[in-house]
Amino acid sequence: MKTEDWKEKLMDYLYDEMDEQEKIAFELELAKNATLREELQNLQGTRNIAGRWEDETISAPPFFQVHKNESNKTQPGGLKWFMAIAASILLLIVAAKFSELQISNSGGAFKIAFGKEISNDKTLAASEVDSLISSALAGYEEKLQKQRKEDFQSYLAASKNDNRKIITDYLTALETSNAAMMQAYWKESTQQQEVYLKTLLSDFAAYMEQQRENDMDYLIAKMELMESDKDLFKLETGQIINSLANNNTQETAY
């Protein structure tokens, strides 16, 4: 067996946590196993050295020292509960006295009342209570239906008049706005046509004036041309006459 296989036993022996029989058996093994003996000595040596690290001397910090008077605040649980229940019951009794609470348990019926004496004589049978409830419910339903019908009719009448007034108002407003819109349109259109015609006429007059001026310029130019042509013709005619006159004179001299 290897030394490691003995490690649990070694630890038990080292810290003396073996029973007598185990201890005897282990010591027998130690006597014949030198390696195990050496291992144990090593462990004891290491343990001896490790034990040289002393504890630090310290005491608890002051804020952990709780004073004794705090314990007086707590009482045994039983007494506390008893006192709490007794106080609750007393409170209920006082409240019942002020609210004139009456409790009865007769004829198999448990009843609680506030401010009125409980009377067991004027009790109604279950069928009577049912019929009373049924008739009350039927009456209530009938009344409710009648009320609903009246409400609906009055609502219809009111809404009819209102609708008619709304439609009339709407049509009137529409008609008025259409008329205003058409008037505005025609007025605008007439003004635009008038402006257009005025512009057209003035443009035409200007055109005619311009045309007349152009024609006049043309006539004047033509007349001036004709006049210059006439002067030239006159000059040429004079020259021809002069030349003819000269020719006649020379012929006479020969």
Partner: protein, 206 residues
């Protein structure tokens, strides 16, 4: 060193459960040093140990009515402490805070309240020095163990809990507890050998 077993008064627990603040205070006074030392050995840091110990007793105060078997107060309290240490350790990994004690220079005339740490006194100054040196090396080696091994080692070696109680606290089998403790010691031996600390060194110092 063997941890001093605290005498549990089930009567005190019963009184605390009935809302007796004085009894709760007595329980805290009785158990605070043990829980603080468990947390201190777990973290190797006084501030974290104080935080975990305080959280443990706040949880104890809030949940003491849930403890059905009063005889199991001790493993119940160590279960809370173990959970608080793991929780604080996880938080510590996320947020590494520096305390003012680490940041501010320490004054010579430090008027610490009497409930704060005070070092153990020895008559022989040389012995005190050697003891402190050895303690510091052991502390360093224990911090290098895995969480599982460290928890078991502290609970058994320093808090003196039974294997059955440790198994109950950690919700594992007794054999697993013993196995973890065995490997914790094996690992410790290797770490101490690296620091040249062995049986003969300790005997020489004595």
């Amino acid at each position: 060193m063997y941890a001093v077993q605290q005498e549990i008064s089930s009567n005190l627990v019963e009184m605390a459960q009935s809302g007796d603040g004085h009894a709760q205070g007595k329980l805290v006074q009785q158990w605070y040093p043990r829980i603080y030392n468990y947390a201190y050995k777990y973290f190797g840091d006084g501030d974290l140990a104080k935080e975990a110990a305080q959280q443990t007793f706040i949880a104890m105060h809030a949940n003491i009515l849930k403890l059905k078997d009063r005889e199991k107060f001790k493993p119940w309290l160590y279960t809370i402490a173990s959970n608080m240490c793991r929780q604080e350790s996880r938080r510590g990994k996320r947020q590494r805070w520096l305390s003012f004690d680490q940041l501010l220079p320490k004054k010579e005339e430090d008027g610490s309240p009497n409930w704060e740490i005070s070092s153990p006194h020895f008559s022989n100054p040389e012995k005190t020095y050697l003891q402190n040196e050895l303690g510091a090396i052991v502390k360093k080696c224990i911090q290098k163990l895995s969480t599982d091994q460290r928890e078991v080692l502290i609970m058994k070696e320093y808090e003196g809990l039974k294997f059955r109680e440790i198994a109950e606290i950690l919700k594992i089998s007794e054999n697993t507890v013993k196995s973890r403790l065995y490997y914790a010691f094996s690992h410790m031996k290797k770490l101490l050998d690296k620091e040249n600390i062995n049986k003969s060194t300790v005997e020489y110092e004595d």
